[in-house]
């Protein structure tokens, strides 16, 4: 057996990933560790394996080789169905843009995270609330007035509003890890700073670890620690 996964939020050793047999590795990270409660900025250029790494960390992709522990669970050894459940229970995700399902209401978009995760629903219930109330509370904390926006087609919200709805969805039911993939690149400077402040504050309030990926290094000061992806990832080198 491999050594037990530690309590670190993310712990990777000898992590390798390639799309197909015979192709060069896209991800080749010898060591990566992110501790609980950290807010980490991962700086990476497009094409640097950024998105692939996030897919690995979220358990959407399975490592080709190496060990990957996320929240104490060995993702590489986990069956597909359990990785999907694991993600819905433990990880919140915010995309670069178009985070909302166009045919769902503002509230339903937030509640979507609870639909697939019994654990999130249980956590909300344990806190003495219900999903709809919790969603409204989070949206309010993020500066969105649910009542005023309720009837609005979500596609017609501003980009900043959409991103905040996505954060509410990521945070509802208090997941342990929030992963953001360039969530501010579609925002203008003012909206971006406000968004970053909110994101940091709410993630901290929820007790979640934050992993923020962007090509824009000017954002780095907002976080506890910065990892430059090109420093740790050596794609295509580790040919066996």
């Amino acid at each position: 057996m491999e050594p037990e996964c530690q309590s670190a939020v993310i712990q990777a050793e000898g992590l390798r990933f390639r799309w197909r047999e015979g192709e060069p590795d896209v991800i080749a990270i010898d060591s990566l560790e992110i501790r609980r409660g950290e807010a980490v900025f991962i700086a990476g250029q497009s094409g640097g394996g950024k998105t692939t790494l996030l897919n690995l960390l979220a358990g959407v992709l399975k490592p080709t080789a190496g060990r990957l522990c996320v929240l104490g669970a060995d993702l590489a050894a986990m069956p597909n169905a359990r990785r999907d459940r694991f993600r819905s229970d433990r990880i919140g995700f915010v995309f670069q843009s178009f985070n909302l399902v166009p045919y769902l209401s503002l509230l339903d978009n937030v509640l979507l995270a609870c639909r697939f995760s019994p654990r999130r629903r249980e956590r909300i219930a344990a806190a003495g609330s219900d999903p709809a109330t919790e969603a409204a509370r989070l949206l309010a904390r993020l500066g969105l007035d649910v009542k005023a926006l309720a009837g609005r087609d979500v596609a017609r919200l501003s980009t900043g509003q959409q991103q905040r709805v996505a954060v509410a969805r990521a945070l509802i039911g208090r997941p342990d890890l929030v992963i953001c993939d360039e969530p501010t690149s579609a925002l203008d400077a003012d909206a971006r700073d406000a968004f970053l402040a909110l994101l940091n504050a709410e993630t901290a309030a929820a007790g979640a670890t934050l992993l923020f990926v962007s090509h824009d290094r000017s954002l780095a000061p907002a976080f506890d620690r910065t990892i430059v992806l090109s420093d740790i990832n050596r794609p295509g080198e580790a040919k066996r």
Partner: protein
Amino acid sequence: MNAPLLSLALKSLINRKATAILTIAAIALSVTLLLGVEKVRSGARDSFANTVSGTDLIVGARGGAIQLLLYSVFRIGDASNNISWQSYEELRAWPEVAWSVPISLGDAHRGFRVVGTTAGYFEHLRYGRRQALSFDAGQPFADLFDAVIGADVARELGYVVGDRIVLAHGAGAFAVQSHDDKPFTVFGVLARTGTPVDRSVHVSLAAIEAIHVDWQSGRPPRPGQAVSAEAARAMALQPKAVTAVLVGLKSRMAAFAVQRRVNTYADEALLAILPGVTLQQLWDAIGGLEKALFAISVMVVVTGFMGMTAVSLGALNERRREMAILRSVGARPREIFLLLVVESGGLAAVAAAVGAAMLYGGIWLARPFVQSQFGFHLPAGGLSAYELALLGLVVLAGCASGALPAYLAYRRSLADGMAVRR
């Protein structure tokens, strides 16, 4: 796991109302066609099978079974031979025979067949679900030159009781040799049956004898040898032969035994058929058309579903983001697959329901018209088990046609993960 999927599928469909409604409309129309063809098919088969009922055997001269059925019941074509009156007399006296109705064919009135028969015809003949003939006006023939006409004859020729008609020799619409020396009086008009009885002119067997009494070897009388109608009345009008005999038995159990006895009858070459069995043979023979119709309607349904698949495939690209979001909140690739299949299946289910409703609504609206114009009772009833099975298949086909886009989405969500490559 399935409740969120169902609600997602529903909301996604509502979001694409226009496409969804058009897709439903296309498939619903095809379902209406499919069920309609099926209705006509079973209706035609029923009405076909309903043409004769309650008759256990039909006896005619030896020949083809279907031919005998065609001329005796459907009044199509002619008999190649007759049954002698003597044989008929013997047959009707058999202990198993409850009743027998002889019919004599060969004359016509303006395109309608003339049937020489006995009063027993109106008493014993049954159609549909053992319904007896009834009279709209008048009554069975009493006098030698009385005629009872079917509903179509009365309607198309505008006859009422009391009108005088002239029969013609031969079955053509423009038979040249007319029996104009012995005109008949319409004495009764039968109620509509939806069977060939509606298109028949019934007279007594004696009347058939009477109009041919002066004929020689199937030719009209030579000048000077003609016998007037009044003179004919005085003559012995004993038929020498009949074309066929409809037989009712005391017990249907005896049908096979009596049939065998007729078929092996020593004095004359006779043939007895069980009408139900021969009807089925005839239906099998002409059933190709109904199968073709059914195949065409199935093709139309398939076309509808291909349209749906095309639409669904087309929407797949713009839905990649949606799939990625669903994956990010923990939807499994299998659930993405199910979502698309449920959407297609749901559309198909609604379309099946709408299609069935359109058909039954249409039948309900058209029924009075069809009944009065064609004398054809459109069967309404509920959905038959077979139709329900067809509708079930339509829903299954809907799910199946959702499977291709669903599979592509499934493959993509496995490969792309949460990334949307542009």
